[in-house]
């Protein structure tokens, strides 16, 4: 409806439009057939599951500690002993990347949960109640959306102090409006349908209608958005840590690792190469899942 509103579609987006490939899916085919024909979703899904796996089983897949220093092994190049080399404290890069996946996923999970829950509440109330409540809530959401996302996150973290908790909360707050907007438009679209009117006519309460009737139809667009936001959360966490305002050292954040690598580029380029590849692949995985899910669930419902 307005430009600031549509700005949210903008940030980093990757996903400007429903993809025309979604039309290939045959009606009436089994869900599995649709999933397996969706190459984006399959490849992205494998990447995401792989990262989930290493995040979960970190201590089992590496013998080193992510924070223990070993000055005899400083700046070691990749070898059988240190797969991706070591850093300026002699810490094993591979191990720090594996534990870094934990950090990324923790932040992503908490941030997406906060964004999702906040967005659900604000969006549902704004869409269902309408009127002044809608106006006030959505102007607040517009105001948050009108900040460059990274900058708002920087401001919030800078105030609350850097830690895993504050970083996750800040990123979550930054993305509440995007969930709220999608939620609100889904609720608005559904609200006027006949079955909702019927439910109202037989005297069901507003809350019950929202939960039982309108709720389920909002799930797919919210899932698609959650996947995309997860990728953004990973990037923003890494960016904050890279800038030095995110997770304080010695936490193994991919962003911190890249920041530390800058000083030793001429000594050991390895330190910069592997964490960067890792972030890119992880983010690419989530973006592919987001694209794939959107095609799968409903190419038209998003945006």
């Amino acid at each position: 409806m307005t430009q600031i509103n549509s700005a949210y579609a903008g940030f980093q987006e990757n996903q400007p439009r429903a993809d025309e490939d979604g039309g290939k899916v045959k009606r009436g085919s089994l869900l599995w057939a649709r999933i397996s024909s969706n190459k984006m979703l399959i490849i992205g899904g494998i990447v995401v599951i792989f990262f989930l796996f290493i995040a979960f089983f970190a201590p089992l897949i590496t013998q080193y500690s992510p924070t223990k220093m070993d000055f005899r092994a400083k700046f070691a190049p990749p070898s059988a002993e240190h797969l991706m080399g070591t850093d300026h404290f002699g810490r094993d890069t591979y191990t720090r990347i594996v534990y870094g996946a934990r950090v990324s996923f923790q932040v992503g999970l908490v941030a997406v949960s906060i964004g999702l829950i906040g967005g659900l509440i604000f969006g549902a109330v704004a869409g269902y109640v309408g009127g002044i409540a809608d106006d006030i809530l959505m102007r607040m959401m517009d105001a948050l959306l009108a900040f460059p996302p990274l900058l708002l996150a920087i401001g919030l973290v800078a105030s609350m102090g850097p830690s895993l908790k504050t970083v996750s909360i800040s990123i979550g707050v930054v993305y509440i409006p995007r969930f709220a907007r999608v939620m609100r438009s889904s609720v608005l679209a559904e609200k006027e349908k006949e079955y909702v009117e019927a439910a109202r006519a037989i005297g069901q309460s507003g809350f019950k209608i929202l939960m039982k009737h309108i709720g389920p139809s909002t799930i797919s667009p919210m899932i698609v958005l959650a996947t995309i936001i997860f990728a953004l959360a990973i990037i923003i966490e890494a960016t904050l840590s890279f800038l030095g305002v995110g997770l304080p050292p010695p936490a193994p954040s991919w962003g911190t690792m890249l920041d530390e690598s800058r000083r030793y580029l001429s000594v050991s380029a390895w330190m910069a190469v592997f964490p960067g590849i890792t972030i890119s692949i992880a983010v690419l995985g989530f973006n592919m899942v987001g694209d794939g899910l959107r095609d799968l669930l409903d190419p038209r419902s998003y945006n």
């Binding site: 980093q12 439009r17 996302p149 401001g155 800078a158 580029l265 983010v283």
Partner: protein, 317 residues
């Protein structure tokens, strides 16, 4: 048209008030006493009281906000705790460097993306399209801070073609200025290029499926004329609008890129101010960025309405 602009301004007012409240609250989110936090524990009681009075922290929070907002409206963003100079002076000093970086990055990404997006759309479904699509997806997934480091590694350390750090004013030495600008602008523009490529592609595909294109083919017009003169021209409004709306990402990105390349702009200043606990400066810069973003969005919105004959004529008629 005038009425439309007026409506937009009326809508923007509450949004900007909410935005200023968010920025105002930054200082109140600091756990404990913000004055202790900013000055350190060994500051004298007089210095503390002075800062407390200056920031108005000894008053009711609503009163504090109103007097702060009044100052903002007069263009007074407060005084830096570190340098004791007006925040607005520092911002105006650093803004040109950031502006130069942002404009250069936008131009680079627009050129690359429009070419790539058009090629992809014109060859929809072929390996060219798929390759470009994958490349653009990869491109938006590479974080700019990593790309920047890799560019320094390759083009400054391995093959010393471009300088890794620093900034030269455009007016002092244009050639040198561009030389320093190259790596930061490419880094900043890369993510944007990926997003615009995807946008151009889908917009072009939509245009190419429309009736007037079928007519153009039927008239026997050549492929370049149909694709570039008809479809691309009509896609451009959307693409340029989309690019304008990406400014938020771009402004956020300057913080990262300025840190990597030691580019003396607002982004670098905001990070330095956070480390120096110079909160008036942090608030001022964040607010400045945010309002700039709002302003550019408004401009994009107005020019879009103005450029799009459908909207313009529809309103008149």
């Amino acid at each position: 048209m005038l009425r439309y602009i007026l409506n937009r301004l009326i809508y923007l007012f509450p949004v900007m008030v909410f935005m200023s409240i968010v920025v105002f609250l930054f200082i109140h989110l600091i756990p404990g006493d913000p004055v202790d936090y900013m000055l350190g524990i060994d500051a004298t009681p007089e210095a503390r009281q002075a800062l407390r009075t200056e920031l108005g922290l000894d008053k009711n929070i609503v009163v504090q906000y109103i007097s702060w907002a009044r100052k903002i409206m007069r263009g007074d963003l407060g005084t830096s705790i570190v340098t004791n100079r007006p925040v607005s002076t520092s911002i105006l000093e650093k803004f040109p460097a950031t502006m130069l970086l942002a404009v250069a990055a936008t131009l680079i990404s627009l050129i690359i993306a429009i070419i790539a997006g058009t090629i992809a759309a014109a060859n929809k479904g072929t390996w060219k399209d798929l390759g470009l699509l994958l490349l653009s997806l990869l491109w938006v997934s590479i974080p700019s801070f990593w790309l920047g480091i890799m560019l320094i590694l390759v083009f400054s350390l391995e093959f010393p073609i471009f300088p890794a750090i620093g900034h030269v004013s455009m007016f002092a030495d244009f050639g040198k200025s561009m030389h320093h600008l190259t790596l930061p602008a490419v880094t900043l523009g890369a993510t944007l290029a990926g997003a615009i490529t995807r946008m151009t592609r889908s917009e072009m595909i939509e245009q190419l499926s429309k009736d007037y294109i079928t007519t153009a083919w039927a008239k026997g017009l050549s492929r370049p004329v149909v694709i570039y003169k008809h479809a691309l021209r009509n896609s451009l409004i959307t693409v340029v609008t989309f690019t304008g709306l990406q400014l938020g990402t771009l402004l956020g990105g300057t913080v990262v890129v300025e840190k990597i390349f030691a580019w003396p702009g607002l982004g670098l200043l905001v990070i330095q101010s956070i480390f120096a606990r110079d909160y008036p400066m942090v608030q001022g810069i964040v607010l400045f960025f945010a309002f700039t973003f709002v302003f550019v969005n408004l401009m994009v919105d107005i020019s879009y309405t103005f450029l799009n004959p459908q909207i313009r004529l529809g309103k008149k008629g």
